[in-house]
Assembly symmetry: C2
Homo-oligomer: 413 residues x 2
């Protein structure tokens, strides 16, 4: 198991402020890992609204099924996340485990299981012994404090090499509100929903309906635009919780997505999603390079997304980047196999702004030394100008290294 | 560069018989490699019919464009194949190179460039210097002999670790005819056409139209059912050449695909395609395990193909196999992400016939030792019973190892 921190980890980790109405606690329940925390309990004051988007997998985890069914209520009192076991493909026992976990949490905080939200991440197919939460959640509920955001992010990690946090302060009306986010996810990351666990918290008074709109519109160019290996987890979960505590300080209550007060908040909220999504790419299993794929001049934005994903998921492109080789031939291959409208003789390809190919052939100004030098950078932008339309898109990925194989060849054993 | 022969290479390599009407020669033209042959010239007697299927890439190579345009003529006098340079994404220079190569070959054999077929494999984006064929093809035409099939297969290799040949003898009417095949391809292999270079040759008198029908119907469950890395080459080419020489020995001339004489021949022809396709999977870059994915009980055959490909292309499944880990959770993940109709609670999954999961959970009879032992085998069959319909499909792939990354991270440099 590779445990060194990704060389692409953010240099500056923000201090995470308190958010009125939220308390946190973590514990080592021994779900799977030794000597580390593996359970997070987040407690919310009454009136906290909730929204979520989940994996598009046809075989979702028991926790995903649980949350989907409880979102209608629109209110959350607690979030329980465990790492080490995904409680996925665990059948009836898995469903029983979610019900038992929610019941234990509800009892601990004297609430209703329908207001308890759950997420599990880790190995698939192993029964999750929810009785391990008995006692643990009681203790956590007693000890929960407004601090400990970094610990919270740490408790939900699996093969992540660093904890992922982001924070923003923005005005809602004339009142400052805060947005904190935490995320985990390093492999089994691909679009078609969130592709990881990510949770966003705010004290802004935002209805669950508006929160849902913000998630749905925000996920497309953030979490859904990140791919590590093209594999989509059964457990992908992105949830948002709004305590509304800032209303007491004068923040307007937002019940409509077109409320003009929402604009700055929505931008900040989107920024948190983008920040966390990039951190996920930066912690791709075995990643040594952050790769940004930009496709422009495509037939449509949707077409640009397909081409960008074809490039970003190509093992041959990703291994070339790992080898610091500006192998534009493989980029052409990936454009070609995407099946989208393309004209070879109009394609132009650049690496970090250096054009290597244009009009269906190697660029006349191609300079091997210059290109080789730029490929040594930790961030590589591959830009493809299709030259046939106005469609544009951008996705993030990472290189494919021997470490990815090592991590995933040994994971379960 | 890893050069050891794949441990999955066939144990028994057949002797390759002569085929009346065909002569072969190979040379070291120094296209890219040192100290090895890199050009194959196959010469056909007059009246040889030809058919071909090609990559579905939107950015096909110049050689693919050349062949597609010349297939209408229906007749072939020569095939020129070079390895080391794919002549793809080479623009106008690439088109000139194909025209020049065909002109040189046509002059050498006193034929017409429209009857010369070309294939190139190797690096994309580098101009191919076709003047290197000048003199070389003359020499080859002079020295061509009816033998040398193994040398022919060897001359078209790139990262292949063994030459791929197959042969069959079958009766057409009352006359024995022969079918020989050669292929190359170890990476950049995925369906949506042939995904490699493969050439099939026969002395049977088969019209180009019938030959085309045999290729189109034969490719779906052979070459199109093989995936190494989900990447599709710009140069994929599968061509068939029928000299018709067996007509002189009494073989009936076949001009209609429903000719009853064709049945046994069609089966043998299909067998050659299947044999070569499996050899490609066995030589997957870095492969240590041959993986057969069988999906049954799916909504439809088409749906079964999509699910099988989702499993076969999943990096997480492939690394698990490399780690000898029967990680059925990742198989569930890959079923789920395929987007096809699936019911988690009806799924059953087995490895080499040992059922590990059923009805949405771990199989009660699961025996870790037994499963671990079978994962050490060189061939792993992953079978998924979807339990919802009658759709069935089978695809071949291989595991994903550190050697794949090493091979593809260093290839161009």
């Amino acid at each position: 198991m590779v445990t060194a921190i990704s060389p692409l980890a953010p240099q500056n980790v923000p201090d995470m402020p308190r958010i009125a109405g939220i308390r946190l606690a973590t514990a080592a329940a021994g779900i799977r890992y030794q000597n580390r925390t593996d359970v997070l309990l987040a407690l919310f004051d009454k009136g906290t609204s909730v929204a979520g988007v989940f994996t598009k997998s046809k075989c979702p985890s028991a926790a995903v099924d649980w949350c989907r069914a409880r979102l209608k209520g629109g209110e959350a009192r607690a979030l329980v996340v465990n790492s080490g076991n995904a409680n996925a493909f665990t059948g009836k026992i898995g469903r029983q485990a979610t019900a038992l976990t929610a019941a234990i949490a509800a009892k601990a905080i004297e609430s209703n299981p329908g207001k308890i939200f759950l997420a599990s991440t880790g190995v698939i197919g192993e029964p999750l012994d929810a009785t391990k939460f008995d006692g643990v959640l009681d203790e956590l509920a007693k000890n929960a404090t407004p601090d400990g955001w970094h610990n919270a992010a740490r408790a939900i990690m699996t093969t992540d090499t660093f904890a992922k946090v982001a924070t923003a302060t923005v005005k809602l009306g004339k009142t400052k509100v805060r947005i904190n986010g935490i995320a985990k996810g390093a492999g089994m990351i691909a679009p078609d929903m969130a592709t990881l666990l990510a949770f966003v918290f705010t004290d802004a008074p935002i209805s669950s309906g508006v929160l849902q709109t913000l998630l749905k519109s925000g996920v497309n160019d953030t979490f859904n635009a990140v791919t590590i290996d093209g594999d989509t987890s059964t457990s992908d979960t992105l949830m948002a919780f709004a305590t509304g505590a800032a209303a007491a300080k004068g923040a307007p209550v937002i019940k409509r997505a077109n409320d003009p007060h929402l604009k700055a908040f929505a931008a900040a909220f989107h920024g948190i999603l983008a920040d966390l999504a990039e951190q996920v790419a930066r912690d791709g299993e075995g990643a040594r390079k952050l790769v940004e794929v930009v496709v422009e001049g495509a037939h449509s934005d949707k077409s640009a997304r397909k081409v960008a994903m074809s490039i970003a998921n190509s093992p041959l492109v990703k291994t070339a980047v790992a080898g610091e080789d500006a192998n534009w031939g493989r980029v052409v291959m990936a454009v070609g196999k995407a099946g989208e409208p393309a004209n070879r003789d109009k394609l132009a390809i650049s690496f970090n702004g250096i054009r290597v190919a244009s009009r269906g052939a190697r660029d006349p100004a191609y300079n091997e030394e210059q290109v080789s030098a730029t490929m040594k950078q930790p961030k590589i932008q591959i830009k493809v100008a299709m030259g046939i339309g106005k469609g544009r898109d951008r996705v993030l990925t990472c290189d494919l290294t021997k470490e990815y194989v090592a991590i995933n060849g040994d994971y379960r054993s």
